[in-house]
Symmetry: C2
Subunit: 418 residues, 2 copies
């Protein structure tokens, strides 16, 4: 791991009562890693001066860089700015550049500028202002005892903009650190312990400078190799040697050597084949289409998704047979096949995928089709393949798994691995 | 805040390099809050004994209950179990009940049982085993100096199952704590400072026992009132008095008094009207359908969503005019109107909504339609209303905002507030 350590402190009662999921820390950690700074700890505390003080005191002992997010809004529950000003012995003064910017935002949004918004333009006189071009709360950069303390708003896109525009370059100027390199092997269809057993001799042969981590998620296990050193090129070479060995050993189950999500892996496979794709979704409600279109450039291969949730829509839009629906119910192999074929035709796509199932109680479940039953079909020209799944979780989780399995099934079908 | 304090420690290098977003902490915090235990701090550390030890030492000073998640897998990077065993001075022994369960999972999943899986059945002899009915890593409950330490796997659904089945009831038996009560007011369409100014006299009149927090997110500001005391009924009464005052003052912009997501607010409104709904989505790719179907019972009002990403699909499936598409491009008021009308007809729904826009560069942007332009239309019988938006963020964020705005627009249309 690198010699330059950072801690992240996130501030807000909403984090402690679970009203908000902290996505900022993971994003900041990634960006710091990119420039060779490793995150040692992440701490979340409430909107109290005592809580912030304790965390800041502790993390200044742990790390050279402490990043804080949150508590910079204009309302009474936001106390980070006066706290920090006081902590570092400064006083709050109006910053004219920030004031002009805050006012311009209110004009642009057609909102009245209130007295309390004036507070947004006040900054401690002992910090460097980190300009927030898309929001009203400026970031602040303090230095104390060779340590750097950076405070930013908690609104994710404002924080991201300040990190990209202001923080990264300043940290790079201030600290010179060894690069950290990662390489990944993404596998699908086998468990963590099966994989560990299969590569145990390779794992045992790893030099001390390389760490191997197993990151299981839905249907997928990601293996991550990490190394730090002063020679990036040499690190890369070494990591790639072991990445290659592991990938070769696990050839049957490797889906990617880039740590990218399944929708992007699928997108790359479709681009390579210059093929288009479309879906007919029932229980997944449009989730597959949503993920596929998260990828920039998905317009090159994605035609559309016919989300036919109600049975009459399956009949009227897709032309699924009324007889099949009533005799075999919507959750059946035949309906999945008819849906996939109809999607192919209506959307004019090379490959299609359909999903129909029961994700939670209160649907059409019965003895043949208990809750969690999902039928999927993939089609290309005259070829149709089907698969039945049974998931055991709650509704959102069953949907997540179904969508991941659907994308994996399509990826295998595309690569003749089904 | 309550007298019983908990800290949450999440363990895993993947959290510190930003590969994984921590959703466990928020979920655990919510469940603890429900039983009157407040979370004081959340700390994330890497898979190192030194890091875990420091966090555990510190949090045992801060809180009566320390919950740990992660690092319980069978592979070499998972060190939490031997660490805890050692920390509390026990030794690892095979637990026969856990062993039988782990073996049964391997049989069920049709996977070979490996030597290293034997380790999953080992538990410290000085802990109470918290049975993990859906996974192989058991939870552990330690007690030391009047404090409770709970270790659970990091896989979210396994952790959740252990909390629900084992942890909650044990904590309730072990600690008696004052209830914490929350009440919310969910608003849409105005900013945090506008709202704060409008209710400043009410905020000033809040008794010390009540805290008010502002939680801004996409197009929405949630206000949360929090109070603790020993009389739950009295607390509720007091909170509801202020909730009522604030809601009355903000009547124009209140969308809900329950802190539920927009898709659920919309679902309730549709159920009240016994109305059905359907969508025609382009740039949102199915995201609206996905969110709507996250709600249990959405089958009662959701018919489907026609995701027509490619222009030829807009023509062939929805019957959007080729002429309009070529003269006005897909991102135009006319196309939005044709899409909404077609969805209403094809899906046979009472209300429909359409979305068409450009979320990131490289699409059909031009001078009239810069990146971020989105047209939406809502339709009911012969009435169609449209709205043009311009979003300024990156692709995923623009999609998020567009989807929230679409649901809000539909909610307003349903409630004659448009």
């Amino acid at each position: 791991m690198s010699n330059i350590k950072a801690s992240i402190i996130t501030i807000g009662d909403e984090l402690l009562i679970g009203q908000v999921i902290d996505t900022n820390s993971a994003w900041i950690a990634q960006r710091l890693n990119d420039i060779g700074i490793s995150v040692l700890r992440r701490v979340a505390v409430g909107d109290t001066a005592a809580g912030i003080k304790q965390a800041l005191d502790e993390e200044l002992n742990n790390a050279s860089i402490v990043l804080l997010t949150g508590g910079l809004g204009p309302t009474a529950d936001d106390i980070t700015k006066p706290f920090l000003c006081n902590y570092f012995g400064g006083k709050l003064v109006v910053n004219e550049e920030v004031l002009a910017h805050v006012k311009s935002i209110f004009v642009k949004r057609n909102r009245p500028f209130l007295d309390m918004n004036m507070k947004q333009a006040e900054v401690p006189d002992n910090c460097t202002v980190l300009f927030n071009k898309i929001g009203t709360a400026p970031g602040m950069w303090f230095e104390k005892d060779e340590r750097v303390i950076i405070s930013m708003p908690g609104v994710p896109f404002e924080m991201m903009s300040i990190v990209e525009d202001e923080v990264i370059k300043r940290l790079q100027q201030r600290f010179i650190s060894d690069p950290i390199e990662h390489r990944s092997i993404i596998t699908a269809g086998e468990g963590e312990s099966f994989i560990a057993d299969k590569i145990k001799d390779i794992e045992a042969s790893l030099p001390e400078s390389i760490r191997l981590a197993y990151l299981p998620s839905t249907g997928i296990v990601r293996l991550r190799l990490t190394a730090t050193g002063n020679d990036r090129e040499q690190l890369s070479k070494l990591l790639e040697k072991f990445q290659g060995e592991i990938a070769h050993r696990l050839a049957d189950i490797v889906v990617s050597l880039d740590d990218i999500p399944m929708e992007q892996i699928l997108g790359k496979a479709l681009m390579e084949k210059s093929a288009t794709v479309g879906f007919a979704e029932s229980c997944t409600g449009g989730y597959i289409g949503h993920l596929i279109t998260q990828v920039v450039g998905s317009g090159n291969y994605f035609k559309g998704s016919l989300v036919t949730y109600a049975n009459d829509v399956k009949e009227n839009v897709l032309g699924v047979s009324k007889k099949t629906l009533s005799e075999q119910t919507a959750v059946s192999e035949d309906v999945a096949i008819q849906m996939a074929k109809a999607a192919q035709k209506l959307l004019g796509c090379d490959y299609s995928l359909s999903v129909t199932g029961i994700l939670s109680a209160g649907g059409e479940e019965n003895e043949t089709n208990p809750v969690g039953t999902v039928w999927m079909a993939v089609a290309h020209k005259e070829i149709v393949k089907t698969k039945k799944f049974l998931f055991h979780y709650d509704r959102p989780r069953n949907k997540d798994v179904a969508v991941q399995m659907a994308m994996l099934m399509l990826w295998r079908f595309l690569n003749n691995k089904m």
